[in-house]
Amino acid sequence: MSILRLLDGNGYIDSGEILFNGQDLTKISINDMYKIRGNEISVIFQEPMTSLNPVFTIERQISETFMVHQNMTKKQAAKEAVKMLADVQIPNPEDVVKQYPPSALRWNASARHDSNGPCMQTKPVDC
């Protein structure tokens, strides 16, 4: 979080440097930071109930990353999102992508009651 400058105003870098691929992350501009965030470095959030936007479908939230960083069209990105879900062995990825986070979580939790916790936890890991 601090490397990506995601902390609020009360968190600041006192001194030193963060080197990543030869760049000093404390010195690059915010626009360069946008390019690194999600593309090269990202954060895995623990609680899917809050880290997923409740008003967007799963598909939109996963494919957004591809659209931002890999210049994919909406259709390509949607396909990629299904592939991602299949990779982490979520059942019925085609159906899951069309759902909104709360129902997707509920549905998956009951479908895979044998696994450890809600499987959606894997989702923000994808990229």
Binding site: R37, N39, S42, F45, S51, N53, P54, T65, H69
Partner: protein, 513 residues
């Protein structure tokens, strides 16, 4: 709707549909009928007089003991009758000497009477006409034809007559469009009638000849009429003719259905007045067509209030909708930035909102529309009201969105969106806004109603939309000085909450979905 439509004969009429509600006793026993602007009068075969329609108190005050009535004539708002013992009575509008029947007319042997706009005319068997009442509106002077007149007719500007030798003459010493009587009809005329703008003469071979001007295509005479006309009658803009086979044809102005003659047979007499038509068949049965009345009455210019209310709703609703869209866009953008960034930006934007919110709305709108309003045309004025309303009412929405934004920006999905590299403006409007928009939308539907009411109050005060464009505020303004009763409350109370209610239902349906 013709915004500039006015009708001096239809002013301030109460809501009713009784203009042609012929009483049951007369319905199958009628001898003669005449119609005024909003009422009718008829005589049955026993010489009894009946009145119906929307009558003023003075019109209702029929003199007692008149005896058997031979003829009745109705004007704009007065009635003249001729009894069988050759006495005339008049009542209704009584100013300008209209109630004073000249003594020489009372003494004469009257054969025809007619009543026009505040004027009464009678014709005696010697071909002399008597005129009394207000002669400023209608100028009538028989001139050299006095003593030679067989039949006459009145319209809103003049009087026309048929002389004993079949000539049609215009009884005026002024130059009017009616002076140019068609030559081919002269000498053969048996009757003459006239609308406001067109005159028609009926000749002895059943032909009619028209002259004057033709604003409602009165000169397009339907087929099968020429050569078969038995009798002709005229309203304010239409003609009705009775054909030799007992059927009736109407044409001309048709704004109240007065030219839609029903299928009838065995008709003996037709009468047309203003916008009403009456036909009596050989059994004395009465048929009617034309203007029955107005659902919500008319205003001081004689315009149909219900129609104007519907059209006015269009403008009022458009103003409400556009101003809400303007204030919604402004409020969401400003509130969004202010709530998301906080700090100095929030500080500046919110102080701005407070300044705008602190402006006294009505006085400002009045001053603005007073200063700019008179220099721009009607549509610009309406547009300006929309903009004023929109630009001044955003702070409420902005504050609401800001508050929602403040809590939403702390949610983890915002950090998650940042972590995958999405830019901040996009986060505000694409990621957070959908989460908070419902609250703003609910509020906007409420301010839609408020905007509508504000437009109404502005127009009511005379600073908004101007005459003759109808809006609901104008409607209330036009009405309140004429009746301060519950009628205005009901008429305004019905339409104003309706869009708000439908708004609310829409809102509820959106929430359920």
């Amino acid at each position: 709707l013709d915004k500039n439509y006015q009708d001096a004969t239809q002013q301030n009429i109460r809501p009713a549909f009784n203009f042609m509600k012929v009483p049951g006793a007369l319905k199958n026993n009628a001898k003669q009928i005449d119609g005024g602007s909003t009422f009718g009068a008829g005589i049955d075969k026993n010489g009894n007089l009946y009145l119906w329609g929307t009558l003023t108190d003075k019109l209702k005050a029929m003199p007692r003991g008149m005896g058997k009535i031979a003829q009745v004539a109705t004007g704009l708002d007065h009635i003249l009758v001729l009894t069988e013992d050759n006495t005339m009575y008049t009542w209704g509008y009584d100013r300008l000497n209209l109630d004073k029947i000249p003594q020489d007319a009372q003494d004469a042997d009257i054969v025809q009477i007619d009543a026009g706009h505040q004027v009464s005319v009678a014709l005696d068997s010697d071909g002399r006409i008597y005129i009394w009442g207000n002669q400023n509106i209608i100028s009538i002077s028989p001139g050299p034809y006095q003593g030679n007149i067989k039949k006459f007719t009145l319209n809103t500007t003049t009087a026309l007559a048929v002389t004993n030798d079949g000539q049609v003459v215009c009884m005026t010493n002024k130059e009017t469009p009616f002076n140019a009587v068609p030559e081919e009809a002269q000498g053969r005329a048996i009757d003459v009638v006239s609308t406001d703008k067109t005159a028609a003469v009926l000749t002895d071979d059943g032909h009619i000849y028209l002259w004057g001007s033709f604003p409602f295509q009165e000169d397009v005479i339907p087929e099968g009429v020429q050569g078969n006309v038995k009798q002709i009658a005229a309203g304010r803009g239409h003609f009705t003719v009775l054909l030799n086979d007992g059927t009736v044809v109407s044409w001309g102005q048709n704004n109240h259905g007065q030219a839609n003659a029903p299928k009838m047979s065995n008709i003996e007499k037709v009468y047309s007045n203003y916008y009403q038509n009456y036909a009596i068949d050989s059994n004395g049965k009465v048929y009617t067509w034309g203007l029955k009345g107005y659902l919500m009455g008319t205003d001081q210019y004689g315009r149909n209030v219900f129609l104007r209310l519907l059209t006015g709703g269009r403008i009022t609703l458009t103003i409400g909708a556009i101003s809400v869209i303007i204030s919604g866009i402004l409020g969401i953008i400003i509130g969004g930035f202010s709530g998301y960034y906080g700090g100095k930006i929030d500080m500046v934007l919110m102080r701005m909102a407070e300044i705008v919110g602190g402006l006294p709305f009505l006085p400002l709108a009045m001053i603005l529309s007073y200063l700019i309003g008179n220099k721009i045309p009607e549509t610009g004025r309406i547009f300006m009201i929309m903009v004023i309303l929109g630009v001044l009412s955003w702070p409420g929405i902005a504050r609401l969105v800001r508050a929602q934004m403040l809590s939403a920006r702390e949610q983890e999905f915002v950090t998650a969106a940042k972590a995958i590299g999405i830019k901040e403006v996009k986060i505000i409007f694409r990621h957070i806004l959908p989460n908070v928009i419902t609250v703003a939308l609910v509020n906007l539907t409420l301010s839609f109603a408020t905007s509508m009411l504000t437009e109404s109050s502005l127009s009511f005060l005379g600073f908004g939309v101007t005459e003759p464009s109808p809006t609901w505020g104008k409607y209330a303004h036009g009405k309140y000085q004429y009746y301060r009763s519950s009628r205005l409350l009901v008429e305004m109370g019905l339409p104003c909450p309706l869009p708000q209610h439908s708004n609310h239902m829409y809102k509820r349906s959106r929430r359920r979905a």
